[in-house]
């Protein structure tokens, strides 16, 4: 009876130890797999070998950090990747800022030009119109900047009136006393001056 009890006790202990060992092995395998995956993903990010967006890359790094692997190689890779992603983030923000700035600039220049065209056409005197003409010419690279006027749009191409220059166009507004066109597209030179203007019939 005593012998049976010893056997049962010993047998139970052995079974429990085996389960623990299996669990430990499984945990170790999972850890190794995570380390392997982390190293693979982090290296891929570092070498620009993924098609992930910046946000996806940042999310992946956060997931790896959340695993808390406490592995020297992984920690070193995380450090390098975070530095790289910070640079990419800064560059993206800068590009976004420039794009917003350019859109705002184009919108405000467009509004100023459209406003000046109307002011010239409705000027109460020639001298008032001439003042606005000179002010407007200051926004352009030269008085000879080409002005294109779209008279009709078809899929894939535009029909234009005979091209003119900005100086002639502004005087045309003064002479004809009508502002029948609005800004369609503006091109700038490296100094921020307009070097091509496209208008469209209102």
């Amino acid at each position: 009876m005593i012998l049976l009890a010893v056997f049962i006790t010993l047998g139970g202990t052995t079974s429990c130890k085996s389960k623990k060992r299996l669990a430990k092995e499984a945990a170790e395998a999972e850890y190794r797999s995570k380390v392997e995956q982390a190293v693979k993903d982090l290296n891929a990010i570092l070498d620009d070998e993924t098609l992930w967006t910046l946000e996806e890359k940042e999310a992946r790094v956060q997931t790896i950090k959340d695993w808390n692997l406490q592995n020297a190689e992984v920690d070193d890779l995380i450090f390098q990747v975070e530095k790289k992603l910070a640079r990419e983030r800064a560059q993206k923000e800068e590009e976004k800022r420039i794009a917003i700035e350019e859109t705002n600039k184009a919108t405000s220049t467009e509004a100023v030009l459209d406003g000046n065209f109307i002011s010239i056409a409705r000027a109460s005197s020639a001298s008032q119109a001439n003042r606005t003409i000179n002010e407007t010419l200051g926004m352009f690279e030269s008085p000879n900047v080409p002005v294109l006027i779209i008279i009709s749009q078809s899929p894939g191409f535009n029909d234009y009136d005979r091209p003119t220059t900005i100086e002639k166009y502004l005087n045309y507004l003064k002479d004809q006393k009508k502002a029948g066109h609005k800004v369609h597209e503006i091109k700038y030179n490296s100094n921020g001056k307009i070097n091509e203007l496209e208008l469209i019939v209102k």
């Binding site: 294109l148 009709s152 029909d159 002639k168 045309y172």
Partner: protein, 191 residues
């Protein structure tokens, strides 16, 4: 036989494409119709500016340059009077210079009823040609402000619209070049 059919099909395709290119859509045709009418309206404003005794000489000359650009090189403008049956033809610049020198203290020129009498029609060389008619009322006043001359003239202006191309900023731009031809007097009355 197969070769002949294939050749015929290619020829038909090419000519079909050429016809398609020549045919303007209703919207495009309407746009060039309006453009040509607009050029005539622009001319009426230039005549008014140059005819006005209030316009400074330098400004009148600038406007004459712009007006000249509206016309074909050899275009002529007919001028009539209720005092004579004769119609005098002037080259464009000469017409405007004559207009500037008219012996009145004040001049009023109005154009109205500007419309097509002959729609723009495509010619074999691709040019669209049409005729626009206008009515012009001319009034001349002396220094006391008395109306000393008045007439109303019906004039026909031939318009030519050609498709041209130019290079701008490294791009080829296709544009419609509207040019005015001769301006002929059709009728002059003292009304």
């Amino acid at each position: 036989m197969k070769k002949i059919i294939a050749t015929l099909m290619i020829v038909l395709c090419i000519s079909g494409a050429a016809i398609a290119q020549d045919e303007l859509s209703f919207e495009r045709k309407q746009a060039i119709d309006s453009l040509a009418l607009e050029k005539v309206r622009d001319l009426s404003k230039y005549i008014k500016i140059v005819g006005s005794k209030d316009t400074p000489f330098s400004e009148a000359n600038r406007v004459i340059d712009r007006a000249e650009e509206l016309f074909m090189n050899d275009a002529e403008i007919g001028v009539s009077s209720i005092h004579s049956n004769q119609i005098t033809f002037y080259r464009v610049r000469k017409y405007f210079e004559h207009l500037m020198r008219l012996n009145y203290d004040r001049v009023e020129i109005e154009w109205y009823n500007i419309e097509y009498v002959s729609d723009l029609q495509r010619q074999p060389d691709g040019t669209y040609v049409g005729v626009i008619t206008i009515f012009q009322t001319f009034r001349g006043y002396d220094k006391e402000g008395n109306l000393v001359y008045k007439d109303t003239t019906k004039k026909d202006i031939t318009v030519y619209v050609r498709r041209k191309e130019t290079q701008i900023g490294g791009r080829t731009i296709g544009f419609w070049d509207v040019l005015l031809g001769d301006m002929r007097v059709k009728e002059t009355t003292d009304r």
